[in-house]
């Protein structure tokens, strides 16, 4: 089996986000960037399947600026075999556009399994995997917390859904999106980071794809969220209950 893992370069989850004063977006200059955490889980899952001989080749794909090569390298250091960067100067593409590009790459590479994160922690869209599955007419299993390969070319996937866990069986080729409990991604070892430098990354210009990359959504402005008014510390349980009863009037 061949796996295609889609990774996005995003502002590191530990960074405190600052909205630009002209309201055009958030500050990304001199800000630490990392692989989207859900995509690390996606890479890890593919690597584990390769270690179990269920997968023979892992391709790490990112669509983004030249800097996304770093993100692909991190995926290669975790155990990916080769990379593809679809290069663009735009620093944000919409999920529908990204989905169409991933479809086009997939038409050429013919992976058996496409793994994505369930959500990019910058746009918080939670769409791309579902779009890719639809465009390719592959079955999908989103929000995966457990993945088992059966002998009959199917995957049994447990999904984190509201109210519990759902299990579905999907046949290969298919699309899976990762949730937090699927695995704990490894840290790449120094030798593997060195080795990853030798691995190949193909760089393709986004214009070479027959995909219209024009945005459908126009971001009119980006604002700070309303602040909560500062609260107080109470001395003891009695004071807390009193506040909840007499000030908040909840109890």
């Amino acid at each position: 089996m061949k796996a295609l893992v889609c990774v996005k370069r995003v502002i590191d989850y530990n960074v405190r986000i600052r909205v630009k004063s002209d309201k055009s977006g958030v500050e990304t200059d001199n800000v630490k960037m990392s692989m989207n955490p859900f995509d690390e889980i996606a890479v890890e899952e593919a690597v584990r399947m390769k270690e179990k001989n269920q997968i023979q080749e892992i391709i790490i794909l990112s669509i983004g600026t030249d800097k996304s090569q770093e993100t692909i390298r991190s995926g290669l250091a975790m155990g990916g075999d080769r990379g593809i960067l679809v290069k663009t100067d735009k620093d944000q593409l919409e999920p529908l556009t990204v989905g169409k590009i991933i479809k086009a790459v997939s038409d050429k590479e013919k992976p058996d399994l496409i793994i994505l994160g369930k959500q990019a922690i910058d746009d918080d869209c939670n769409q791309t995997g579902q779009i890719v599955a639809t465009l390719l007419a592959f079955p999908q299993a989103t929000f995966a917390s457990e993945l088992k390969k059966n002998d009959d070319n199917t995957l049994e996937v447990t999904r984190e859904v509201d109210g519990g866990l759902e299990t579905v069986k999907i046949s290969i080729p298919c699309v899976v999106t990762t949730d937090l409990r699927l695995n704990e991604p490894r840290y790449a070892s120094l030798p593997n980071i060195m080795k990853a430098k030798q691995k190949k990354i193909d760089v393709l210009e986004i214009e070479s794809f027959d995909v219209d990359i024009k945005d459908r959504l126009q971001v009119l402005e980006v604002n700070e969220p309303p602040e909560r008014k500062p609260g107080i510390k109470v001395d003891d349980v009695d004071a807390l209950v009193d506040k909840l009863k007499n000030e908040a009037k909840i109890l």
Partner: protein, 311 residues
């Protein structure tokens, strides 16, 4: 302008989030209709029929939709919407809507607007990005708007009407590449996390699943739903679907009580629309205090039994 709302249900009850989505739809247009797909829908329809704001309900009762497989649902909804004059298709931003709606958008070549929190006009919406650390105002240039709605931002519609229901059939081929295996429902007699008036959550500070009993007693007395931080879920203290936060459930109760939770931005993202937030934490420097209306510094193992007694 005509809005279609996709109803989430479990073939027995309508999910609260559906009623909130109907309210959101009404803010876009007076012409709101609903589509229900499922199997054995009598109870669902009895409940849904009462929804204010709905002009009409379409029902497709078919075993294909016994379980909410997104492949079948999105195809059927596309077929239904094709050739109609809907300008907007709304779904709740629950795992049901998140799983299905982007597929519908791909089938219709529309860029979905995820998780809207406010409606500015029929084509302009607010949605949180970066775990709610920024709010984007976006205008859609697509001819049809496909939207998922954050239910905590819209009151559920009232239930005082008697809406017309029309039965429909649908002709789609069953998708054979995906099948439902089972649904392992978390057992709980408590209110739903996302619609409860009071929520009490525990974090890593609870130390183990057993200790969540300390929260249970309080939840019983308050009629509260129970939640958790990611750390508590990852450690296996409580079921996965208890996770509150950016990548778990978004809640906005009248009162949120955070116990042994530090207040990471990803957790705060899920609670900051709560009317009141109270916390118990032994570290007075913990960020959760910055978001709490009432903070109590101290050891939870000492304070929780006292709190239960005082309620």
């Amino acid at each position: 302008m005509k809005v279609l709302v996709i109803i989430e249900h479990d073939n027995a009850n309508v999910k609260q989030s559906s009623f909130s989505t109907i309210t959101a739809a009404k803010k876009i247009s007076d012409s709101v209709e609903a589509l229900v797909l499922g199997k054995g829908l009598d109870l669902v329809i009895d409940e849904l029929k009462k929804s204010d704001y709905l002009k009409k309900i379409y029902k497709i009762d078919n075993e294909l939709f016994e379980n909410p497989l997104a492949e079948n649902l999105s195809k059927a909804i596309q077929k239904f919407a094709e050739g109609s004059d809907y300008t907007h298709i709304l779904s709740p931003s629950s795992t049901f809507g998140k799983n299905m709606s982007p597929k519908l958008s791909a089938l219709m070549d529309v860029q979905q607007i995820s998780d809207i929190t406010k409606i500015i006009s029929d084509d302009t919406f607010e949605r949180p990005i970066y775990a709610g650390n920024a709010i984007a105002t976006v205008k859609s240039n697509d001819p049809i708007k496909i939207i998922t709605v954050r239910s905590t931002c819209f009151e559920p519609c009232a239930l005082t009407s008697n809406v017309d229901v029309e039965n429909l059939t649908v002709n789609i081929d069953k998708n054979n590449s995906v099948s439902f295996v089972n649904y392992d429902k978390s057992k709980s007699d408590r209110p739903e996390l996302t619609s409860a008036k009071i929520v009490i959550s525990g974090g890593r500070g609870m130390q183990n699943g057993e200790n969540f009993r300390l929260l249970e007693g309080i939840a019983d007395k308050l009629g509260a739903a129970m939640g958790a931080s990611r750390a508590a879920v990852d450690a296996g203290f409580v079921p996965n679907d208890w996770q509150v936060g950016q990548t778990g459930k978004i809640v906005a109760p009248d009162l949120y009580i955070a116990v042994g939770i530090s207040g990471a931005i990803q957790h705060i993202a899920g609670i900051k629309d709560s009317k009141y937030i109270a916390c118990i934490n032994k570290d007075e420097e913990a960020p959760i205090f910055n978001y709490s209306d009432y903070g109590l510094v101290g050891d939870l193992f000492e304070l929780l039994p006292k709190l239960e007694e005082k309620l």
